[in-house]
């Protein structure tokens, strides 16, 4: 559980510092819709981050300074970069003896049912009344 808290904090910090999103208080639980999943599998852990299309678009527009709606490729690239930064920060804190370079994150459009979460710890962050779902598994 402690590693999940470090991960959650890393995501919150990166989203605030680089993507101008300030975490909000949790909103009542509901059936959140997720449209993109970015994930990484390292030797010691797996991380998946699920996010709605609206929030993913907003993050991408903020990051790239776009005037128009971003292309799907821009969104997936941006979400991968978020997870890359998050993982770098997270590993520095949670696995200080980790020596190897980290693997590369992947990102793809998804639906709620298409993402397997067996055995994962689950947490949420909230932005603009939308949820980001964090899945973490220690190997």
């Amino acid at each position: 559980m402690q590693k999940m808290m470090i991960l959650k904090e890393s995501i919150s910090n990166i989203l605030e510092e680089m993507f101008f999103l300030v975490e909000e208080t949790p909103t009542p639980e509901e059936e959140w819709i997720f449209d993109f999943c970015t994930h990484i599998e390292a030797d010691d852990f797996l991380i998946k981050i699920l996010i709605s299309k609206n929030l993913a678009q907003e993050i991408t527009v903020n990051f790239l300074g776009l005037a128009d709606e971003p292309e799907t490729e821009d969104i997936t690239d941006c979400l991968q970069e978020i997870l890359n930064m998050v993982t770098g920060n997270f590993v520095g804190l949670a696995y200080p003896d980790h020596k190897k370079l980290l693997p590369f994150p992947a990102c793809k459009p998804c639906s709620n049912k298409s993402v397997k979460n067996d055995g994962f710890e689950e947490e949420f962050l909230f932005y603009h009344e939308q949820a980001i779902k964090i899945l973490f598994k220690n190997k």
């Binding site: 680089m18 790239l64 930064m85 770098g88 520095g92 980290l102």
Partner: protein, 141 residues
């Protein structure tokens, strides 16, 4: 004075943000060259003069460590300023490997002011040509 600046990162988004950040520094006439990994960067360096390089470390095909080694082997680029920008936070390991080979290591998220400061210092640009701090107010990358 015109400058050629090479940005090396496997993330297209990060390359775009880096170029946007350098543009905001108003250092004059800059040609931006991009590469998605070390192999592509060496290809660019084989036919272009480069004044300064910003590179990531963790990239496919050829990582930033190998790229820096290869660049420093080439007498043409042995003095070219290199700034590493990485999400890897294990600074001690990185410092040991890169010591004496690069001018700076920045950890993501970085501040645009840091990029500007290194541009000014490493390209020996006159201070008055540059952007004011206000240009970056509230901006972190």
């Amino acid at each position: 004075m015109p400058y050629n600046i090479l940005v090396v990162d496997d993330s297209r988004s990060l390359r775009r943000v880096m170029i946007k950040t350098i543009r905001m520094c108003h250092i004059g006439d800059v040609t931006y060259l991009q590469a998605g990994n070390g192999v592509e960067a060496l290809e660019v360096l084989s036919h272009e003069w480069i004044d300064m390089i910003f590179t990531d470390i963790n990239m496919p095909e050829m990582d930033g460590y190998t790229l820096v080694e290869e660049i420093r082997k080439n007498p043409v680029f042995e003095k070219t300023p290199i700034v590493v920008i990485t999400s890897e936070t294990r600074r001690r390991d990185m410092n040991n490997i890169l010591e004496g080979k690069v001018e700076a290591i920045l950890t993501k998220p970085f501040r645009p002011e840091d990029i500007r400061d290194y541009l000014i210092k490493l390209l020996a640009i006159e201070e008055q040509e540059n952007a004011e701090d206000d240009d970056f107010e509230g901006v972190d990358f």
